[in-house]
């Protein structure tokens, strides 16, 4: 028997703590870099914003005054505030479920294919990969009221009696005004970006179009972790339909992924900005109908150089999103099972 085979004496000396304490110190050590960087890169500016939200600081000014709650008061007393909230919520409530649902749907459909999966994956992921700014410009061109392909297409459909009859449901005896398509044909195609009734939905659509591919990829990654043996078990247990196997195996196994996808999509939806900025700057869309919170922060803090107000909206934004995310996370995390 040799000494070397015993737990090494060096190890003994290093042994300062029991496994729990040791795990704790490893845990701290490993999260320390991330923690330190988060604190300096992300949290410190947020604290600065918190401070600035009580001042009237404007970039380039030599000094600033403490204004107390003025900035907050202003936000709450302006009518644009409600518009901001309604635009933000409309966007979030539309985009989150749809882009999560579409992402999951696409992932499942694609996974079930034996052939062509790679192509669909790449296609659906294209919008994620493309530069949003460029794509927004493309959308803008496509949505052009008179020369854009969309309205040209609608006009083309209106021009053909068959498609016009079919899509406006006039073969059911409905009057042209009764259907959306009928109205398009009689009153002209929509203005899309200039019309308050459409602008926010266009932005939502672009958001979904752009974002669901990413959710798809996350779900595809999640699906690789689903045990095949469990599908076999489900099949033996009589889960005959796809839906049953989905409920029994896939969905629970995707729980962690779903927590992640929903959280992220939600946060990203709250942070929607680029499209709005590219399409509706300045102003935030017809009647401020697309005046989402991030745009407001940017408009106040950067464009209009009112850092105090921008910071105040930022703080509100964070409080807001934090509460919602916590609730959402709490709900989903409780239902989720890991391994």
């Amino acid at each position: 028997m040799s000494v070397a085979d015993l737990p090494s004496s060096a190890a003994m000396r290093r042994a300062t703590a029991d496994p729990d304490r040791r795990q704790a110190s490893a845990g701290w050590l490993m999260s320390a870099p991330a923690l330190a960087l988060m604190l300096t890169i992300l949290i410190a500016p947020v604290l600065l914003a918190l401070m600035l939200s009580f001042t009237d600081y404007s970039l380039g000014n030599p000094s600033f005054n403490w204004v107390g709650w003025d900035n907050y008061e202003r936000i709450f007393t302006r009518s644009t505030y409600t518009k901001m909230l309604s635009a933000t919520f409309t966007y979030v409530i539309t985009v989150v479920p749809l882009s999560v649902g579409l992402g999951l749907g696409a992932a499942l459909l694609i996974q079930s294919l034996t052939r062509g999966a790679a192509i669909y994956k790449a296609v659906y992921f294209l919008p994620v990969m493309a530069t949003l700014l460029a794509m927004t410009i493309v959308w803008q061109l496509m949505l052009h009221p008179s020369i854009g392909v969309i309205n040209r297409g609608l006009e083309g459909l209106c021009a053909m009696p068959f498609t016009r009859g079919l899509l406006s449901l006039s073969f059911l005896g409905l009057s042209p005004e009764a259907t959306w398509f009928g109205r398009v044909c009689t009153e002209g195609a929509p203005l899309w970006l200039g019309d308050r009734d459409y602008a926010i939905w266009v932005v939502c659509f672009i958001g979904i179009w752009q974002g669901f591919g990413f959710n798809m990829v996350l779900y595809l990654a999640g699906l690789t972790g689903v045990s095949r043996e469990l599908y076999a078990a489900a099949e033996m247990d009589g889960a005959r339909s796809y839906w049953e196997r989905f409920r029994l195996v896939t969905w629970p196994a995707l729980g962690p992924t779903t927590v992640f996808v929903v959280t992220i999509t939600c946060i990203r939806a709250f942070q929607a900005f680029d499209t709005v900025e590219a399409l509706f700057s300045p102003g935030g869309g017809p009647g401020k109908s697309v005046y989402v919170m991030m745009f407001a922060i940017y408009e106040k803090g950067v464009t209009q150089n009112l850092m105090g107000i921008g910071a105040a909206i930022t703080v509100l934004f964070l409080i807001f999103v934090m509460i919602l995310t916590l609730i959402q996370h709490w709900i989903t995390e409780r239902k989720v099972h890991y391994t």
């Binding site: 009237d56 404007s58 970039l59 380039g60 000014n61 644009t80 803008q140 061109l141 052009h144 009221p145 008179s146 020369i147 002209g188 203005l191 970006l193 200039g194 019309d195 308050r196 300045p282 102003g283 017809p286 009647g287 401020k288 408009e299 106040k300 950067v302 464009t303 209009q304 150089n305 009112l306």
Partner: protein, 397 residues
Amino acid sequence: QDDTITIDFVYPYSSLFDVTYEAIMPAFKAAHPNININIRASYEEYEDASNTILREAVSGNLPDVTMQGLNRQQILVDRGIAQSLEPFIAKEADFQKDGYHEAMLSLSTFGGEVYGLPFSVSLPVGYYNMDLLKSAGVETLPTTWDEVVQTCQTLKASGSDNPIYWDWAITGNWFFQALMWTQGVAPVEGNHINMDTPEALKTLETIKKIVDGCEMKNLSSDEANSAFAAGDLPMMFTSTSNVGRMLTIKDDFDFVTGAYPGIDGQPAGLPAGGNAAVMTSTSDDPAVRDAAWQWLKFITSGEGAAEVARTTGYMPPNRAANDLILADFYEQNPQKATAVKQLPLLRDWQAYPGDNGLAITQVIYDGLERIVTGDAQDMEDLQQELSEEIEDLMPHS
């Protein structure tokens, strides 16, 4: 090469002005072989230019010379970023002879001191598709907004569902200020914005008249430009700076520009758009500052300035360039001549005072938008609301 001096220079709208500076550069090099111009990454537009400069001022990274929107000079002057050019002008023996328009210089004069030299200047003009107008039976261009509305009616009667675009959304409330100046009233006087005046009401009502009378659609500037180029839009009122581009992209129709209409008769004044060269050098070295001045002066006068007109739809800021160097240019390019003819009307494109200046711009923008989208029906109410909101944002000390 030790005595080569490098100065940093930035300008906005690179796709528009790249070629201008490319054209200027060889001549400048020839004249000042020891000055090296380092062109920084360009600004996107005037807002970006202004924000970037402010950021750079705080981070101590300012260029030596920057081109800023005419209405964005004020803030730089207020914050002490732009530097007075008076010392340099004083040293110039024959500054007047270089042909700087008094009117144009006044665009960059703040508190009696010149802070910038205008480089490219634009004025609002009317764009007309004569083919469409003629086919509707309109032969003469409208000179007042009432006539414009009438023309709209005529066009609509002949089947046009989209007769006009009046570029209300253009940056810095330019068109709002245009209607104020039209009536001979400055939008801003001292620390007061003339929103509560009868002229302002008249302005709002005129806009409403145009919007309602012409059933103007809420397009964006870009969309309107495309529509006009495609021959879908008979009349468009916007800056003359688009003329150059329109000439290259327009469909095969007769494109004419006309003087900006007035409320009754010719406008009393129009705000100047465009940008000015501002010195922002933080260098203590007199040689650098002098080099910056040389560059600044070169591009705003003589052959340098002439390139502006040649390569863009803007007017050069300089009488010499306009009258002498480009005399026959405007015969060749009648669409670009309209603005030049309006030169006597040139007025300030004003910035609103105080830290909230840009917020006020946004308030007025929102007000105009409400007219265009049909949200606001009663102009007196609107005026009331806007005045209150503006009052709230004005500096109170």
